[in-house]
């Protein structure tokens, strides 16, 4: 599955990523981080198309994006 990892300690809660995500996979999580910012969280993981728009707009480089790729040849062992 495609996924993003949000570094919640780095996230400043600007929510530009929420605005950018075409699939509404990101939302506020309501709990402050150590710096007192309210970071975002990744939801609806199944919808993520790994477009990386969230990461592209994040001024704080808090998001790493992973795209699911089929494993060559031994595709049957690929993770769900």
């Amino acid at each position: 599955m495609n996924t993003i990892i949000i570094d919640t300690e780095r996230c400043k809660g600007c929510y530009l990523c929420i605005e950018a995500c075409p699939k509404n996979c990101i939302e506020q999580n309501g709990r402050p981080n150590a710096s007192g910012n309210y970071p975002v969280q990744f939801v609806l993981a199944s919808e993520c198309i790994a477009c990386a728009l969230c990461a592209l707009v994040c001024p704080d480089v808090a998001i790493t994006v992973f795209r699911h790729v089929k494993e060559a040849k031994t595709a049957d062992t690929a993770m769900a």
């Binding site: 599955m1 495609n2 996924t3 300690e9 780095r10 400043k12 809660g13 600007c14 929510y15 530009l16 605005e19 950018a20 710096s35 910012n37 790994a50 990386a52 728009l53 990461a55 592209l56 707009v57 994040c58 001024p59 704080d60 480089v61 998001i63 790493t64 994006v65 992973f66 795209r67 699911h68 790729v69 494993e71 690929a78 993770m79």
Partner: protein
């Protein structure tokens, strides 16, 4: 299995920046760091920091850097580049720094066609000092020193640097971009990359004006401030390419021969 398709670029230090939430200084930093990596100049780059919110860029870029007095980044950059033509020199300056107090240094370094890449972050206010009027503040825009909004008959008009740069013979490339949405960020990335190439390939002066949001001093939310850049700033500062003569670069003075470069730099600096 999964593959990383977006991660922190190599030359952006793994630190939380001091920039406000939603400040696109961070985005501009990332794009510059990507360019440093792409062009392989990380081991010969010197960044010149301005006075402004980006004064602490030495903490964020994993390359050599020097802090210039307010506005003088391009004079400092000139000194570095003249002493060591083999180094990759870029300045990163705000609008107050580059277009107000440092306008003279900016125009002359550009006019001499120094082999320097300029990242000019125009956010229409003085961020660091608390939101006073900048040379780029829009007509009617309220700031802490234009409480009733900027008026042209008192404060003049917003200064359009990308256009001004394009008029100078020494400038090979001048473009204005923005960071308010993914499409603009991609265009900005391309422009910054091109400005790097202007130096790596043509040893020329490349200028990118980046329209940037300062949510704090606009008193808007980060999302709203991006809209403000899109709707208000872009109306006053049209995005686009203002000059690119790299396809047919003008006759540049002969490059300093390798031997001389060494004589001036390594040789001199260690022998005396």
């Amino acid at each position: 299995m999964s593959k990383v398709i977006f991660e922190r670029p190599r030359y952006l230090c793994d630190k939380v920046t001091h920039y406000c939430a939603g400040c696109t200084h961070g985005t501009a930093h990332r794009l510059v760091a990507e360019a440093i990596e792409h062009f392989g100049v990380g081991e010969k780059a010197v960044a010149v920091a301005p006075a402004g919110c980006s004064v602490m860029l030495y903490k964020y870029f994993d390359v050599d850097s020097v802090e210039a007095p307010h506005g003088r980044a391009l004079a400092v950059g000139t000194g570095i580049k003249r002493a060591r033509p083999d180094l990759f020199v870029f300045t990163y300056q705000g609008d107050g720094d580059l277009a107000s107090i440092g306008l003279c240094e900016t125009m002359h370094a550009a006019n001499r066609g120094e082999g320097i890449t300029v990242i000019y972050v125009n956010n229409a206010v003085y961020g660091m000092t608390g939101g006073q009027m900048a040379p780029t503040t829009l007509l009617g825009q309220r700031t802490t020193t234009t409480p009733a909004g900027r008026k042209h008959d008192n404060e003049g008009h917003p200064l359009k640097m990308a256009e001004m740069m394009a008029t100078l013979e020494g400038v090979l490339y001048s473009e204005r971009v923005a960071l308010y949405d993914p499409k603009q960020i991609r265009r900005a990335r391309k422009a910054i990359f091109h400005a790097f190439e202007v130096q790596t390939k043509h040893n020329g002066f490349g200028f990118v004006e980046v329209l940037s949001a300062c949510p704090t001093n606009l008193h808007l939310s980060p999302v709203q401030s991006q809209k403000w850049v899109e709707n208000e700033m872009c109306a006053a500062f049209p995005l686009g390419l203002y000059k690119d003569v790299t396809a047919k670069p003008p006759e540049l003075p002969a490059a300093t021969p390798e031997a001389e470069v060494n004589g001036v730099s390594q040789g001199t600096c260690h022998a005396v």
